[in-house]
Amino acid sequence: MMDFDKLFVTRDWFGKPVRRNEDVKFVKGEATYVDDIDMNCAHVAFLRSIFAHARLKKIDTSRAEALKGVLAVITGPEVAEVTKPLPARAITRPARQYVMATGKVRYQGEPIAAVVAEDRYIAEDALELIDVEYEPLQPVMRIEDALKPDAPLLFEEAGSNTLLDDTMEHGDYEKACREADMVLKETFRVHRYSSTPLENWAIIARHDKGTDSFTVWANDQQPGRSMTTVCGTLQIPTHNLRLIVPESGGGFGIKLAIWPYIVILCLLSRKVDKPIKWIQTRREHLLGGTHAPDGIVEIEMPVKKDGTFLGLSVKDYQNDGSFIHTAGIYGLIKFATMVGQYTIKATRMEVLSIATNKGPTVQNRGVGKPTMTFALERMVDIAAKKLGIDPAEIRFRNFVKPEQMPYTTPSGEIYESGDYPECLRKGLALGEYDQCKKQQAELRKQGRYIGVGISTGVEPGTSNLGYYYTSSGVPEYMGSGEGAIVGVDYDGNINVMIGSVDTGQGHATVIGQVISDMLGITPDRVRVDNTLDSFISPYIGHSGCYSNKFNDVDLGAVIKATEKVRARIFTLAAHMLKADVSNLKLGDGHVHVTNDSGKKVSFKDIAALAYKKITLLPEGMEPGLKEIAYYRNPYAKLPNKQNFNVQLTHSNSCHVVTVEVDIETGFVKFLKYVIIHDCGNQINPAIVEGMAIGSTVHGLGATFLEEFVYDDNGQLLTTTFMDYLKPVAATVPHFEMGHHYSPCPTSLLGSKSAGEGGAIGSLAAVANAVEDALSPFDVKVTSLPLTPEKVVKAIKETKVI
């Protein structure tokens, strides 16, 4: 963390709930998204497999090509001929797959062919004229089915549907079991859900015949990497692709997987003489664009009678569907913080990535941590019940203590700061834990069933991208970083470009706050261009808006670039004021001489010297007043299974929830919902609060409503928002928030991640509350979502949800 006295000249903006400056254009519909870019485009539609698993015998596009208005058609086999297969990162078995289906289809909705036509209506009509001959194969949908010895294989060359099976052991787990008074075991299941940003995937591709190069506009969340994956797949040099990311209407991780479609659009754009556009429909998005994997988590926990957790063993089955590019990564993320907030010394984790005929999976808010935290925090409650210890008390006994910070977990993850006991104490107080427990006993006598649940969770950020290769061992990316350009323009105002394009977080506001306090100006003078252009913007392979890295490396790059600009401002001012730099200070958009009242020069005058009156510049000084800087988190370790930090900052939160269950209908009502959040220094508390609540609502969606349901034939039954249910205002409780502030010593501003906490902690908190409410019926919660039917059935018959 930097010395704020040196970093800031004012403290007027940092840490204040400044109103977001980007919102007016969004709410007025004046932001420019991909679909708003009007270039007289032709339009693309995709023919998608109607089967979950089938051989492609024949694709006949002749009738479609003959339709008036159709400009070009491309098929999977044609794409495969001119592209490289998808690069896999985490899996260890060979599996060959292309950006479009060839040979066979592996999920309902997999693209088989694409049509470009004068408009989207014609393109969609043309799809109906493509004749596909399928030879249906038996679909493999469930993990259990995929693991059967005679299961049909998704990838024959892999020889198994298990594409990754790796065990990581840290500390002496066997010893922990020997020393334990008991070893608790449980199996948990988390269903398949996702994020549904308002704006789906959107791409425009234009081919320049003269140079055989491409310009692409896409709402890509990780453009730094897409540059290499797209060009590598197309087998073109990277300078032949200009990738532009305009405003993006929500990401949550799933826009990390847009790049295969960029490849297809590039190929199609070569066939026609105009730019082409594809806007993903909601149905396409729900079918395969994309999901978080469903999974089974088998947990073993050796414990002492006094409640001490001695060890933790997890066997994690991840149903990764059929997208080898990201298969396996959820397990590796779960592994990183598997011990949660506890001083568990011995761990074993077996990570399995299972290929099935479900849709592709990619990073989705929290990436595995929601599942891991659900399983762990449920396990903690099960242990508490078994040992007769209060669920809050057993957590206090096992927490990493603030005096142990920075704390290194058995596998090498470094929790740099945090006060877990204090957060829970605050949560119990605000959540009126003791009163709610008393009320519970009273209400039960009246036949009302309320329950209180606690969940605590680590919320990591800034992924050290070496983690992808934990098992496969050949790291292509390591660490985390970002780039930024900060410049003073003619009028003395500040322009900023950055390699990560905000997807709704409020980056422009926050950057404006930080720069204003660094330069002694007001945020209205800072303009952040929320666009990435690979020919102009600063970027590296890590660039993009994901893994809660903004508060760390993105702002790091902004700060470093601003420092450079500030140094130049001082140098120019010193020349103009004929003063020594050490006698200058910033304030009100001017540089003032400290020892001579009244002598000052404005940013505008300095800019005039830098840009216009350049003959007056000091000998040897470059004109212009714009600086580029890159920043990396310096604490990322090299990939190493034995000692590795998958993530570089660690926020934490605790949720204390009181619910009432209607035992006749299975509906669950919130009586109280408390969130205590610690993300270190908050640059903009209003934004932090919005994110904590938003992510919690996402978690509640997963807990009660959102689920991708497939039938036995692999047909997805939830392809519209009538069946894939999102939380709506009426289903959301009133949240009470408390904060704790443990500054992060390893980020420049002491800030940590803020966008995922609620999506991580809420699942277990609610599940624990529901189980507590139903304790008179001996119901155990081991799976989600908590649908009314499952709740009633468990009360009446099964005793297990």
Binding site: R283, F667, T720, A730, T731, P788, E789, V792, K793
Partner: protein, 286 residues
Amino acid sequence: MIPSKFDYYSPATLQEALSLLSEYGDDAKVLAGGQSLVSLLKLRLASPRCLVDLGSIGNLSYIHEDGADNLLIGAMTRYAEIAESKLIAEKCPLLRQTALVVGDVQVRNRGTLGGSLAHADPAGDMPAAILALKADLKATGPKRDRWIKSEDFFLGMYATALEANEILTEVRVPVLNDRQSAYLKAARRPSDFAMVGIAVCLKRAKNGTCEDVGLGVTGITDKPYRPQHVEAKLRGQKLDPAAIGAVAQSITEGIDVNGNIHASPEFRAHLAGVYLSRAIQAAIGS
């Protein structure tokens, strides 16, 4: 929204609309508020050759009394208008209670009573109320009008007693005094289609027993229905929780109960009983 190609007509008179229907027959779909049909068009689940939009026909949206103890409601009357109508609140609160929980604000602002009934979604809300109220529905054809009893109107999934050349133009609801009513639905979220919806219109005798009752049930089977056997069992009964509970489970007797991803047939049948009890109690408390 990328539907298949269709011809769009916006006739100014009912006569024009009817002649379009006569011309196109089954190839035409009538567009009222669009809250159901447009979704089907979007997904290309419906690909009609032509749409006949009733939106420009001026005289299909009204709520008034006919002087013979009936409320007359034009088919193009929107849910929001029903929910806001003082006349309905006073004379037939069940319609208001039901309209208030249809979909969400946007749906209620656009969707129409006639559209809902003619679409005959097996989980639609308004059909349950119409059945419980024993209303009549006016089908206007090219040559004549005819009245269809609500219990004869719903034939199956999205199927009604309307002929291809007829348009539902009016709903006639008898104004009954001393009634208590409620519409309760079980839905995953408030704005969702009912897993079960129960409409109750109840008249209690001075001693508190059930003198008369009308019930409408939706979400359970391929069409909304009126469980007359349950009505018969309730008549003359004391309406305490035990007595209602004894009758409640028979609400799905003889009914082929649907299941989907939100509720299995068994759970739906269970919910139907629970919601019948709760709806009757809510009506008594109304």
